[in-house]
């Protein structure tokens, strides 16, 4: 599904290249559940952002769903991204001015779904995550776990093939974290969603099918579970 070849990401600081990712290559197949681990500054988030097309690598080749992403124009990339990828953030990043319902609905608006279609899809999602009763609340009225649930619902609403999660449980207590991880496993197994998550927790990493350890912008080890 996804192939990164000789990817580098660096910042020029007073003439010196400061590498965040250094000549990294990685293949991920459809249906995998990959956990990316590593110490702070090892390049986990940068890698995830590049995979998620929120950021561009400085060098290297990036293929996604059979397309050469590094050759695509902004607009095409955005279209590809919208169709295939959902994003979950550590800090949830819900839009404070929108209700739960509207937060989940927003991606559909950007993908030009019709109003009636949107209604059905959002209702379905609310039902699936058992948050129907909270649909008219604003993010500030929810607990962290509930907010993250909404964040995931929002990421999944447009039925992405790939779910990217940047420390999804980082701000949650362990019980809430476990629930989210169970949800991920279920999504992976039952719905066949490919998941790539960045995590600090060994325990959470083990929910996945593969663990990749990063150090100084390179893959230090990769372990199939």
């Amino acid at each position: 599904m996804l192939s990164l070849q000789h990817i580098s990401k660096f910042y020029q600081v007073s003439g010196l290249k400061n590498f965040v990712l250094n000549d990294l290559s990685l293949e991920i197949d459809e249906g995998e559940f990959v956990s990316i681990m590593g110490p702070s500054g090892s390049g986990k988030s940068s890698l995830l952002n590049i995979i998620g097309m929120l950021d561009e690598p400085s060098e290297g080749y990036h293929y996604f769903a059979g397309q050469a992403v590094h050759q695509l124009k902004e607009k095409q990339r955005s279209a590809l991204y919208k169709q295939y990828i959902g994003f979950v953030f550590q800090a949830y990043h819900l839009i404070d001015e929108l209700t739960v319902y509207e937060n989940i609905e927003t991606p559909l608006i950007y993908q030009d779904f019709k109003g009636t279609e949107r209604k059905a899809m959002v209702a379905d999602m609310l039902d699936r995550f058992s948050i129907v009763g909270k649909k008219d609340l604003f993010p500030a009225q929810l607990s962290g776990g509930q907010q993250q649930l909404v964040g995931i619902a929002r990421a999944l609403i447009a039925k992405p093939k790939l779910l990217l999660a940047d420390e999804p449980t980082g701000n949650l207590n362990s019980k809430q974290g476990e629930e989210i991880m169970e949800l991920f496993r279920k999504l992976n197994k039952e719905d066949g969603v490919t998941i790539i998550q960045v995590t600090h927790s060994e325990k959470n990493a083990e929910y996945g099918s593969r663990i990749i350890n990063l150090l100084d912008g390179k893959i230090e080890s990769s372990k199939q579970l």
């Binding site: 929120l54 994003f87 509207e102 927003t106 950007y110 990421a155």
Partner: protein, 799 residues
Amino acid sequence: MIKNYIKIAWRNIWKNKIFSAINIVGLSVGMAACIVIMLFVFYEKSFDSMHSKNIYRLNEVQKFEGMNASQKVALSMFPMGPTLQAEFPEIKNFTRIRWQQKFQITYQLKKIFSPQVFFVDSTFLRMFDFKLIRGDRATALLKPHSVLLTQETAKRIFGNEDPMGKTITHYGNDTTSYAVTGILADVPKNSQLQFDGLFSFNTVFNPRMFTNWGGNWLNTYLELAPGTDIKALEKKFPAYQKKYMGPGGVKAYELFLLSLKDVHANSADIGLDYINFQKFDQKLTNLFALIALIVLVIACINFINLSTARSAERAKEVGVRKSIGAQRFQLAIQFLGETVLLSLIALIFAIVLVSIALPYINNLSQRDLSLPIMNNVGLLGLVFLAAVFIGILSGIYPAVFLSSFQPVKVLKGSVETGRNKGSLRNVLVVGQFASAIILMIATIFVIKQLRFMQMRDPGFTREQVVTVPLNMVTTAQYKVLKQELLNSSLVQGVTASQDVLGSHLDQTGIEFKLGDSPLRQLTSTLLVVDHDYLNLYKIKLAMGRNFSSEKSALSREFIINEALAKELLKDHKGKPMSSLLGQRFGFDSTGVIIGIAKDFNFNSLHYKIETLFLFNQEAWGFNNISVKINGARAKEAISFIQSVWAKQLPEIPFEYQFLDDHFAEVYRVDSQVSAVVSILAVLIIIISCLGLFGLASYSAEKRIKEIGVRKVLGASVQNIVVLLSSHFIKLVVIANVIAWPVAFYAMNKWLQGFAYRINIDWWVFATAGIISIIIAFVTVSFQSVKAATANPVKSLRSE
């Protein structure tokens, strides 16, 4: 999608109350100012638009021997109309207008004074499209002794009677009767010609008029063939003048044409323009429009500044939306939507503001402005579109700026959004305050000049002087009246004259001969007065003697002003002024100069003092009586005059005006300008300060952590206030530096329009500068002090 945008926009507006309030208040005030000025501009443009023919007014430039400067006048001569039409085929029609003010009309027992009637040629209604309700346009004014009355006047005279065919009488020097041949619709207020009745001019024709070249006592309007080349036609006038008036006519007069539309708005430099109703210089209208636009732009700048300043708040939203699939232009449209919504809300407030303000505006402008928004769909649409446009205009930069954020960066919180774009904000704030300061300076000078004109000693006293028109009152009647009035202690003096000071006075040709030198023909302004005129008005004599009540049978006596004395001595260098006394002067060989009066401003202070002579001649009749009353008992005095009048002249209505009020009329346009400029200046200052207030609060908010750290390190409240305020004060100082030269240039130019003007004092600039800095400091301090006194523990608490 649209619904979604509107919803979010509404929530954002509601959530950021200060931001929204500042913008809505600023925009609505700016829009209201623009709408009012727009209504005014439309009203001005509508002047005389009811006429369809290609009509021009004939004007003269008079260059008479003996006048200080040549002058443009609206007047023309009686024989000009017909001869011009005969000479030039492109002139299809002409009509002359001779006005009569406070015109007395009698019908049976009913007597009224009509404020203004016109004597016109029968072609008047063929050229002008004034509505005739009854009667025949083509023939109504053909016959002598015909009159057309406006509906209102007909009602005043006849009540419910049918006026058609009835006869009205005008009593006066020559009593005349007129038959009503038609009823006119009331004249629209946006017509330069205002009249209550049209009288057939041929009723009062006499043979002398037809050869009276040189007598400028009426207005002539010409209808030209469509597409006539005005410049080419004007070029042919000198030959025409030479043919009919001889070479002297070419030397003394230059004829020019002014299109009907320009008569109202483009004739500020034309004098003796008596019937040009509410004449108002287009340049001033344009100036108002420009300043109103500046008010609006300044409100838009507030929006741009505040939006970019608080961009940090929106940054996360931009990042999230982009990460869930939003494209840049979708976000830009969302932000634009918010601005447009804000702008439309402001429009609603603006319309409310305008409806509240209109009565005051109408009182100030003397116009009938109305807001026909509800029944004029076109205008409503225009205003709506303008509001949308304003929303887009002020929202476009923030939208482009905000939508450019990179999600990776803003979601990490790594960029200092809002601060890096500070330079544009600084420029805009400087621009706002520079405009505010320029207008502040302008306001001070305009008000100073106005006060100067009102307070300056004009060389005569105008306090507690009441003028009463003396239409159709004979000199004998006047004398009795005068005696009666002087019997009371309420009246301190009574005199009479042909014209009231402060109006343009008539000019006339005169002769002068000094000793053996040749006779000189020249033109000067004439004021026919009663013998005690100088006393009542406290006009000082430079030399010679005053008129006396004892008339010398042999000679006609004249008093000239210093300006005329200088003119008369032009060819006799070295001779003292006193050598003029006793010299031959006036209309014929019987005249002598008996005195020289100190110069006084018989005209408005826009003009230099022209040459003038006073002539004491009861036989010519007086048009105005001046009564100096006891100021402490003014009300009593007025009713006393009225009672004497009613007893002496029961058949003539009594009207009066304080000379002070008359001069207020003379300076009305100046006071209107001063009022408009100062109102707009205040608005600009308020809106600029609103913006500064908003910026200061955001900047304080953004630096809250820094302030907390500084306080923990021992900074005092003053330190923090200075830290937060100094930046803004710097901007205002820069604004002053820019504003001063611009204001100096503008004021210098404006003051050129006054012959008597104030100096451009440096302290006005300094005052405006200090005031602007104080206002800015106070505005900013609200936020600075709040931030500086906040508990640092709160702001430093880790999230």
